[in-house]
Structure formats: structure tokens, C-alpha cells
Symmetry: D2
Amino acid sequence: MKIAFIGLGNMGSGIARNLIKAGHQLTVYNRTRSRAEELTAEGATVADQPEDAVSKAEVVITSLADDRAVEEIFFPPGNAVTAMPPGSTHISTSTISVKLSRRLTEEHRKRKQDYVSAPVFGRPEAAAAAKLFVVAAGPARLVEKCQPLFDAIGQKTFNVGEEPSNANVLKLAGNFLLTTVIESLAESFALTRKFRIDPNLLLTLLTESLFPVPVYKNYGGMIAANKFEPAGFKLPLGLKDNRLVLAAAEEVAVPMPMASLIRDRFLAAMAMGLSEQDWAAIAHISYKEAGL
Amino acid sequence: MKIAFIGLGNMGSGIARNLIKAGHQLTVYNRTRSRAEELTAEGATVADQPEDAVSKAEVVITSLADDRAVEEIFFPPGNAVTAMPPGSTHISTSTISVKLSRRLTEEHRKRKQDYVSAPVFGRPEAAAAAKLFVVAAGPARLVEKCQPLFDAIGQKTFNVGEEPSNANVLKLAGNFLLTTVIESLAESFALTRKFRIDPNLLLTLLTESLFPVPVYKNYGGMIAANKFEPAGFKLPLGLKDNRLVLAAAEEVAVPMPMASLIRDRFLAAMAMGLSEQDWAAIAHISYKEAGL
Amino acid sequence: MKIAFIGLGNMGSGIARNLIKAGHQLTVYNRTRSRAEELTAEGATVADQPEDAVSKAEVVITSLADDRAVEEIFFPPGNAVTAMPPGSTHISTSTISVKLSRRLTEEHRKRKQDYVSAPVFGRPEAAAAAKLFVVAAGPARLVEKCQPLFDAIGQKTFNVGEEPSNANVLKLAGNFLLTTVIESLAESFALTRKFRIDPNLLLTLLTESLFPVPVYKNYGGMIAANKFEPAGFKLPLGLKDNRLVLAAAEEVAVPMPMASLIRDRFLAAMAMGLSEQDWAAIAHISYKEAGL
Amino acid sequence: MKIAFIGLGNMGSGIARNLIKAGHQLTVYNRTRSRAEELTAEGATVADQPEDAVSKAEVVITSLADDRAVEEIFFPPGNAVTAMPPGSTHISTSTISVKLSRRLTEEHRKRKQDYVSAPVFGRPEAAAAAKLFVVAAGPARLVEKCQPLFDAIGQKTFNVGEEPSNANVLKLAGNFLLTTVIESLAESFALTRKFRIDPNLLLTLLTESLFPVPVYKNYGGMIAANKFEPAGFKLPLGLKDNRLVLAAAEEVAVPMPMASLIRDRFLAAMAMGLSEQDWAAIAHISYKEAGL
């Protein structure tokens, strides 16, 4: 397929490569052009502007950091939404707000374009290894049509229905759950460290009994080692996702006290200057408050 | 080995049966005698009093509900601690306070008896199937001596060092983590339900991607179905364990805001009259506060 | 002085009347025109559009519900900011965001207009009785110039410095403190009611010993009586102010766990359908969670 | 009246002096005898043991730090409850648990003694100046009989009914409210300081508008100055009272999320080594988490 791929960050570059490997023809755009050029060796064409990238695409795939980045590409100044041909499909893999997802649905519909919301779970390594989990929502025939693309980038696709923004709600719920894992581990390690119990004992115990999954192993490992760099997912991005889940919850009047608690952890961590660290660095707060 | 087994509740009866199967000779005691008599068919001897049960035992194993139950057996009126022979070993599998674990360590030491703290993770089904996870702490030679017993009741033993009460700290940390899983799922399901997303979609998504483990499947399943009976572990027991982890944290001056939050959930659930339901019924609070 | 007065809600109409009484010449504008016309008997002139109201004013005073209302008046479609004469002064008494206050500062400066941020404390009765507390910030000579106006509407003016948006920060901090009073009283009354202690006993005790001030008397009285209508300040406005204080706190990376907690109370109250009640109705949540 | 006065700490010594001034005949006991002897110049007799102090008293008044101190005086080893004459009255001014208050009620009743629970609000200066607020509960005729004593030590007595332990519930609710004032001020000062607003501006604004009461002035003053020594009421005592209110709330199944939040503040402050500071020093946590 002729694909325009926009956003070649840690996630996007891995995803784009897997699409090329699967035989698709990619025109790529990235604000920092050098990251786009890295892909020319593999056969991608580099576009100077979002409009150029999308104007002849069958499918436009975006992997962008936040709402603002998406807005700048699709609305002025980027204007990709007006440049996309009628009948083309936008697949958004970014973790954006429920509200923006609805706006994209609407703006594409007006122009007879299709929109599939398809945020993904997985760290950059999983993106590179085509091991992402894809949460796809949109009209059934569309999701079906996109399935080969999802297969090229992920290990599994969850089809979550017709309403695109629901995929974003689910993605935000998932990221919220990840933050609760981090915070609950942080409190547990603070407790056991104060009893002078070797953090690795707790780590082994948890990940070889109740929680034998990468999420607990990775975050538990960081917290046990009290080492949060290099960052897989930076703290300010975590704060952003927390903000989005709280906004979604506010829209439908759902109190989420754990999300509120985690918001305060993120803010404290920002105030402590940890913005270059992995989002698991909120564990510093638990350690500090315990006098560790 | 000649084992005195005390406490034949949902957990204890399964554990005791597995010890009999492994060829050990059990004298059993339970406050409600009928539950003890159920084991005579399998070869157990029933004792009338704790003292009678333990007076000739090499090993005394306890599976009791809480601190008070343990105290009533070992100290007056039960007096098991004075009735146990010197050189015998007490293995406590109960989830008790760090403080009581220390007191037992001391009282047994005074009488030249041994004490191994060995709380277990697993629901009654796991106890019956000898699939428990055993968290054992005590002098190394002792834990080694008890290993065949742990092998008879569990799928894995974690040796967590010489200080018996540390096993209790770790067990409480583990139970705390379970409550955070429940609460975080409750908030996530409340959120997604308000967006009219089928709870089973979220359940499938979570347990087939980030959290493919029984803990998330079981509790997620209950919360998705909004059905908390029959109870695997009743709410007041959850409140008790929460109280114990907060007490342990207070002893070493560790704030655990998630544990505090969950305490308030348990109290609200008690006030709503849910004491016969599974501890996952704290999800009712999230549902109610969301107007569901 | 020739004053344009915009926004004649519960607060604004009282304030406007007091300015007329003090001898000022008012041109008034309100979205719902009938509320403006009520003031003609007292000598006010009614304007059809914000632009008409402000085009000849020396001073423009606003008393509007939220950011959006202010934006619609000053920016398109209202365009008051372009219609105000150079040299005129905008006094904003509304509880708006720190961010919008900064934007107004900037937009007025560009047009050689002056801007004084002067949010007020006090309920509608206080506005009618000229008993407001005015929190004024802006260039010193300006605040001094406006002092006679503040004297006409309030019992006391606090001059809080040159930076207009700081008055908004302080106003938001004050409103935050009010919500903490409400929530703390709610929890206290829930506790004592469960012990079957007459709520009036607690109310009397508190307001005749440690807290002999209207804030505690008013909110304590509502909560003791469990009666939150008629509303002095509606719940959704409380949620709005809570959102503003959390946004301000996020800007400077300050965790405010009590504000987070209160946010969750407001959302639960909204989900319960209490949006027509006084913001003190968040006490319902404490009562409900206590099984009352 | 012949009064036995037990407990001559910061509060007790002021109270005792006022009783002497009012013409009562005091036999005093204090664990550290030197503090008792300071009162001999004013006419008090010093007892060596609690039993000696109470054996001929008409009224026994206690001003002790916590449950343990009261238990050690009234039950073994102190045994005051057995030494008190039938018909004598115990007035407990200490902030003790609801549970201990009930136990004292019962133990005194068995011995035909009377018990009035009369905890007080006020710092040591108020005790010295006979300006305490007395919260009295017990049989009506008894409270009436004790009124002259309350008049001698306080500025006002609140008669809160027949059930002695209800006075303790109300006292704990009051202390809980004080902690919420401290925490809410701490968060407000952290917020405004991050906006570079002079803390004294906020302090003046609050205490000359909405909150013109000593509680806000005193704690606000400490927090504005970021100075918490000398301590009027030490942090560990605050943690103790928080523990008591949470225990009372647990007994009747009332979640108190603000009390939970404050518990975590106290623990963090203890972990930071602030145990010699005033309980308002929990503000350090807000400052620290804000990066101040």
C-alpha cells in the first residue's frame, strides 16, 4: 500500500521499518528531517511537509507525541487533513485525548476520508520487534482492511468497536493501570527497604509468583535498582497521559482517586527535577517520603 | 513427620490434606471440631485441645485467620507454646502482624523451640491443589529441614532470610499489591463503563496483553461481571490485612498513600454492608461514585 | 466615573448597584438582557452589545462566571478588548484562570489599556451589602486609582502587588481553602453521626470554640442539616474553581493532594446528579460512604 | 474540694494552678516528681504514688499524654482505680481513645465511682490563662457538679450528653479539623510560594478576610515563616491523635480520606526526622514535594 508515515520518534521509526519490511511503500515525514532520512536506505521517500507526505497516500499513519503534535500536522500549519485524498484512511497510533480523537473522526468524515483510531501498547523495543498490541476502533470494514498493517507492526490486534475514540479511552485506561503498578511497587519497595529486606528478594518473590509478567519485572527491576535512566518513557509523557485519563474521567464524571494520587506523584517528581527520567521515577517520591 | 496441624478453614483443610497425602502423620485441631473430624477418614487424629495436639509434635503448623486466633491458641487459654516440646518447630502459615511474628519468635526461643514464619500466597483452590507459593523465613538449617513440607503444599518456596517477621512483611506487601490491582481495575472499569464500553472488551484487552496473569483475570472477571459472591477471600479479611500493612508501615515510618486509599474503600464497603462479599467488592464504591 | 459593567449574575447585580449608589454612571451589559434592564430604574443605561457598553468607558468592570464567558466578551464574538478606548481600565472581578488573566494583561497592554485583576471573596449577600473582600493586583498607581471603586463594593481591599495574575492565584487558593473546610466538616459530621451524636452539638462546639467564623457556621450549618438548597454557589462552579487551582498548581509543579481529593468528591457529586445544589453538597459523598 | 491531680505536663501544670487559685485543695502526682514539687509553693501536696494521691480525693483529675499513660496510672502498676474511694469522681481531660474512655466508664461504675470525660481544646498558654474550651460528657448531675471546676480552668464548657466517650469522639473530630487546617494551609502556601508570592501576603489576606481566628493565624504564621520550633504540640502527639480518630472511624465504618492523607503526612514527617517539631511541621512535606 502507499502509506504516508508521520512521526519517527522512538516508537514511529520501529513501526515504519516494519511496514517497509512488509512490502509497503512509505513516504515519511518527521519534524526533525534527519530522523526521516535514516529510512531512505530502506526504501522510504522523505517528504518536506505533511501535505506532501499525505497528498497521494492510501493510508496515513501517525505516531506523534501528543495532541499538539497531531493538531499541528492535521490542522494549520500542517493541513494534512485538507491534503489527504477522499477515500484515504488515517490510522492514528498516538496516545491522544478522547476529545481530539472525536474531532479527527469528524473532520475526516466531512472530507470523505476514513479514520481508524489504533493506539498501541509496547515500548520502543516492542515497536522495533513488531510485538506491539494494537487497540483498534472504527467502522468494521475499515478495521478489517487495516488488519494486514496491524499484523505487520504488532503481535495482536484488539478490535474494540465502531467508535474510534473508545480505543483512546481504553489506551488511557491501560496506561493508567501501568502507573498504578509503578506506584504500588514503589510503596512496597519503600516498605520492605525500611525493614532492611533486600529489594531483589521482593522483586523475585513478586515476579515468580503473583506477577510473572514483563510489566512487573521491568518496573520492579528499575525500582529495586533505584535507577530510572535511560528512560523508556519519559516522566513528562506519563504526566501527559495522566492528564488525559483525568480529563476523560471528568467528561463522564468518574472519580479516579488512584489517578489523582499518581498525578500528585508526577508533579512532585517534576518539581524534583526528574523530567529526563523514566516515568517509573515517581518511585523517588515514595523513597524520599520514607526517609530513604 | 509427626505434625500437629491447627486451623482447618478454607486454606488449612487443603494444606492439611496435602501433608497427609505426602505421608505425614497428622494430629489436627480446629475450634469447630466437625471440620477436624472430616480429616479422620484420611488418617488424621483429632485433638480436643491445642495443648493435646502439640504436646508430642515434631512440627506444629498453623493456618489461622488472624492475630487473635493465633494468640488464643499459643497463649492462654490455648497455651500451645508451653505445651510444645523443646526442639519442636512451629511453622506459621497465617497472615499475621509483624509484631506477633516477632513475639512468637521470642516466646519459642525462650523454650528452645524453633519458629519458621511461612505465610502463603494462593486461594483455597491453590491450597487444595498444592499450588501455593510459600514465603519462608527463619534460621537457614530450619527452613531447609522444613522444605519437604513446603514441597508438599506449594509449587514454590521463597527463602527470604533469617528474620521470621520479614516473611510477614513480604506477605503483607504482596496482599497490598493485590488490593491495588483490584482498586485500579475498579476505577478502570468504572471509567470505561461510563463511556459505554463493554466490560468484557477491557477485560480481554488487559489480560491478553499487559496483564496475562490469574490475578488480573480473576479480579478483572469479578469486576467486569459486577459479581462478588461466592467470596474467595472475604472483605473483612482484606480490611484486616490492610490494617496490618498500615501498622507495619507505621512502625518504620513509611507513608503508603495507596494503602490509605484502599483502607477508605474497605471501610466504605463495610458501611455499605458488603462484609460477606469477596474483597474485590470494593469495586462497588468506584461504581457507585461514578453514578453507575 | 463612566463605568461599563458586564455580567449581572448573583454577584454582579449587587456590585453594580453599589457602584450606582456611590454616584458612578453605569452602562450595563448582560447576555440575558432582562437582568440588565432591572438596573435602569436605578439609573443605568443598557447596552446591546459588549462593544457598545465599553466603547466610551473609563473603567470596564466584569463579573462573569468563567473563562469562556470572559473570552466571549473580550475576544470574538464580543470584541470588547478592541472596542475599549486606549487609557481605559479593565477591572476583572471574576474567578478566572491564571492563564487567562495573563492573556488579558497582555492584550490590554498591547492596546494601551490598563488591566487590574480584582477577584472578590463573598457570597451574593455580601456583594449586595458591599461587604466583599477585594484582592487587587496591578500597577500600584492603577490600584490606587481604582480604590474608590473597591471601597464602594467591599469592606476591605488587599493589594497584592504588581502582577495581575497573582490576584487570581490568591483567589484560587482561598477558594481551595473553602473546599477543604467543607470536606473536613463533612468527614467530621459523618464520623460523629455514626456515633449518634447530634450534629448540632458538633456545630455549636466548633463554631463557639476553635472556628467562630461565618465560613464554618454556614457550611457547618448546611452539612449538619444535610440541606444544600437553595445553592449559594453551585457545585459545577466549585468543580470549575477546583479545576483552575489544579491547573495553576500543575503549571508550577505543586502537588496538592487535598485539592485532588476534593476534585474526586466534586466528580462523584456530579455523577450523583447534585449539580443544582450548593458546592457543600459534596458532603453527600461522605455521608453515603459512611452508610448514612 | 479535695482534688487529686495527676499529670503535670505543659497542659496539666496550668490547669492545676488554676484549680489551686480557685481555692481547691490539691494533691498532685507526676511521674517525674520535680514537676509536682514546683506546685508545693502554691499549696499543693505531692504524692509519691498515684494510689496515695487518689485515696482520699473527692475528685481525681487527669491530664495525661496518651492511653498508655492513663492505663499505667489507673490499672496496674498505678492502680488508681482501685484506690479511689466509692463516690469519688474521675474527670479525664486527656485526649484518649474512645475505647479507653468506655473502659474507664465501666471500671469506675463497677466500683461505684463516677466518671466524667472532659477533654479540652487549647494550647498550654490557654491552659495557663484558664481559657480552655471544655468538652464534657457524663451523667447530667455529675457534669453539673463539676461545672465550678470547669469554670476554674476554661472559658467555656460544652455539655455534650450522657455518654462519656462521645466527648472523646468530639475532641478527636476537633483535632482532626485542626490537622486539615494545617495541611490545607501548607498546600496553599506551597502553591503561592511557587508563584513567588510573599507568604505574608497570603497570611494577611486569609486571616483578615475569611479566617480571622487564632487557629489560622497561628498555624498560618508558622507555615509562612517555615519555622516550627519551639513546638506547642509535638508531631508525634499529632500522629497519635490521628491514629485515634482513624481508629474511632474504623469502629463505626466511616472512611475519612482527609484523615488518611494527613496520616501519610505525619509518617513522612517522622521519616524526615521532624519529631521534635510542632505538628504543623507536616508543611515541610508540601514544601519539599513542590521542590521548595
